[in-house]
Amino acid sequence: MSKDKKPVETTGHEWDGIQELNNPLPRWWLWVFAACVVFAFGYAVLFPAIPLPGGNSKGTLGWSSRAKVEREMAELEASRSAVLKGIEQMPLADLPKNPALMNAAIEGGRSAFKVHCVQCHGSGAAGGNGYPNLNDDDWLWGGDMDSIHTTLTHGIRHPGDDNTRMSQMPAFGKDQLLTKAEIDAVVEHVRKISGQESNAALAPKGAGIFAQQCASCHGDDGKGNRMFGAPNLTDAIWLYGGDRASLHNTIFYARNGVMPAWNERLSEATIRKLTAYVHSLGGGE
């Protein structure tokens, strides 16, 4: 093979016996290069390519990535519109009976929850001290679809919304409605009705104070009242803690949790999706 080779032209440069050869570029490479040049001209004419003082050239095809995104988003919206309409128009209580719509709503709610709700309620909706756990079956304002929807729509203690959820527990200690000793007695009573270890001497005294001061909202039996957002004090779930120090603080300073009225920020469809998602977490009624 090599004996057929013609001597290679050199540039005349030589360093330590190493010569710089002057081989021509491979022919295929040249052709590809030429084809690329031709392609580039065509591309520059057809597509946006050249930056100009008044904005880039638009290209004769009028294609732009932004228009493409907008078109795709519109297609996506159109493909979702039937389901969205169904979720928006169906009476809320009937939604769980329609598995297709309910599942779509739950999945939509799951992603909306991750954006708007996890900051307080946590990514698993398990809440934390002062932030309700949405997985359990204990509800301050009710756990059926309509109650959850109302809470989401109008929020809790949200300024400027007339229909917002508003509970008003007095700060019994701070406002000097009860003495510290009386509060301690009430704490023992609450521990007793919630099935925890309690001081048998103090609890009966606390029961009397409870009947006067607390029963109007929490009920005579301490089981709460959802109309006022008064929690059930007899169950195993504590929003702010069921130990003596927490209970004392709660009664002394009162608790005033807040949640935004989401109708100011989210569409009705999104609120309904969130309703379905929260309802599906396991505590839905």
Partner: protein, 492 residues
């Protein structure tokens, strides 16, 4: 490169292609090869069109590789992706089968059944039909490109391309419902993958069977290199009986009194060889044992009224024995030697094992994954609730219902959070035919029934029709201090 090489220029490592013009031949092996050609091509082209009724929920194609649905249908057998070991088993059996065949009768696969051989044979038949037999083709090859040559060559390549297209076309029918796909292909509505596969296979068929032929076997295929490890002196291979044939000499030379062997050096065996070798040089890498030289030589021997099988199937040992005039053992005794029997035993064992596993396999399965966020929820009555994602596999091609039950935790009950029904000990779930359905289930249990932070809970899925039960153990998580040893005092 500019410096002069010190030694002589290295020889090229590449060998120019020697053109092969196999001559037409007739005989028993040629007939066998035609039969195998028709049978194998028939199987290849017809199989996708065979129907198989599986009811309304599964495709009715007997052999179907449903890539999109991740199912493999083979008659009454349906394979799911997690059962892919059956396919692995089949491949192992195919490999062992190749060893078995090669050890006993040499490269029978290469010579008779390999697609490369079958399609090359078909292409050569077309070539012979258009361009004539060996001598005519050699002449045509040397001839200048005049109208007649161009016409012949164009016709030949056109027919080759049509065969290639049909070959590639038939392949895609194994991967979709054949009648539907054919309609889509004709109307131009088929998925791109179908057209792409047809194009690729058309190209490979045309180039491998039409243009490259014996080069594929000699240079591209690894099997000729491996087969020497399979063959030994007791393998039946196509053999030129040199003790009988040598020294070669013409009929006239023998009549003139010269002591010649039976070989008259007529080159018939060389002329018919599709790989262009001379079998009289002994066993060679290029020989695919197609046995056409046996037919060619027998034809000559018959004409010369000399005994047949100067070239024939024999083993090295038998060839030596025959040359010494010893009596030969029966063929079956040579065939059934330990090496062959061991291959046969392993091959059959794998086959029987697979059949046994196939017959006894479950037609359902469950998998349970505990939800990790939150790991547990305390309920208002103090019960602990865990969430689970339950997947039920229904491998039957009919909708089925399954009862889900719990074991391991006293008083544990199931709820479906969406339907919101009251907690129950048994939950009945519908699962789609031939598919997997996913359910979110919640289990609630009294805290006192737990055995500490982590308890074991067993999910039992029982088919309502009584055919099948699967169990899976999962974790049930509770608060750190849960369980019967829980302290009454919880003062935090």
């Amino acid at each position: 490169m500019a410096t002069k090489p010190a030694g002589p220029a290295p020889e090229s490592l590449y060998k120019a292609r020697t053109k092969v013009f196999p001559k037409k031949v007739e005989g028993s092996f040629r007939r066998l090869k035609w039969a195998i050609l028709f049978i194998t091509l028939g199987i290849y082209y017809i199989t996708p069109w065979i129907r198989w009724d599986r009811g309304p929920y599964a495709p009715d194609q007997a052999v179907l590789v449903d890539l999109a649905g991740r199912r493999f249908f083979f008659g009454p057998i349906e394979i799911w992706p997690q059962e892919f070991y059956y396919v692995a088993g089949l491949l192992i059996m195919a490999g062992l089968g190749l060893f078995l065949v090669t050890t006993s009768v040499g490269r029978a696969w290469c010579g008779y059944a390999c697609p490369q051989t079958v399609w090359t044979d078909l292409y050569m038949a077309v070539e012979r039909w258009i361009e004539g037999d060996r001598n005519a083709r050699m002449k045509l090859d040397k001839a200048p490109y005049d109208a007649a040559k161009i016409a012949k060559r164009t016709t030949k390549h056109a027919i080759w391309l049509v065969i290639a297209l049909l070959t590639g076309g038939a392949w895609v029918f194994y991967f979709a419902d054949a009648p539907t796909l054919l309609g889509e292909i004709v109307r131009g509505e088929a998925p791109f993958a179908a057209y792409g596969a047809i194009a690729v296979l058309t190209f490979t068929t045309y180039s491998l069977a039409g243009l490259m032929r014996e080069q594929v076997c000699t240079y591209m295929c690894p099997w000729p290199r491996i087969q020497s490890a399979m063959l030994d002196e007791d393998s039946f291979i196509v053999t030129y009986k040199a003790w009988r044939g040598e020294p070669r000499g013409s009929v006239k030379e023998r009549e003139a009194g010269k002591a010649t062997g039976d070989c008259v050096d007529c080159m018939a065996c060389v002329n018919v060889c599709p790989t262009g070798i001379d079998i009289r040089n002994g066993a060679q890498l290029e020989c695919i044992t197609c046995a056409l030289c046996i037919d060619a030589c027998n034809d000559i021997m018959d004409k010369l009224e000399r005994p047949r099988d100067l070239i024939g199937y024999t083993t090295l040992n038998r060839d030596v024995q025959e040359s010494k005039g010893e009596t030969l053992a029966p063929i079956w005794k040579t065939l059934l030697r330990p090496r062959v029997l061991i291959y046969l035993a392993v091959w059959s064992a794998i086959g029987l094992g697979m059949l046994a596993v196939l017959a006894g396999r479950d037609r359902m399965d469950i998998s349970v994954a505990q939800e990790r966020n939150p790991v547990f929820v305390m309920l208002s009555d103090g019960d602990i609730r865990n969430g689970y994602t339950l997947k039920i596999l229904n491998k039957e091609a009919r909708p089925r219902e399954f009862d889900i039950m719990l074991e391991g935790i006293e008083g544990a009950r199931l709820t479906d959070p969406v339907s919101n029904a009251a907690p129950a000990e048994t939950l009945r779930l519908k699962v789609r035919p031939d598919g997997v359905d996913t359910f979110r289930l919640q289990v609630r249990a009294p805290a006192a029934a737990l055995s500490g932070e982590q308890s074991e809970i067993v999910f039992v899925a029982r088919s309502v029709d009584g055919e099948g039960e699967s169990r899976e153990t999962a974790r049930f998580t509770g608060p750190e201090n849960s369980g019967p040893q829980r302290e009454e005092e919880d003062d935090r």
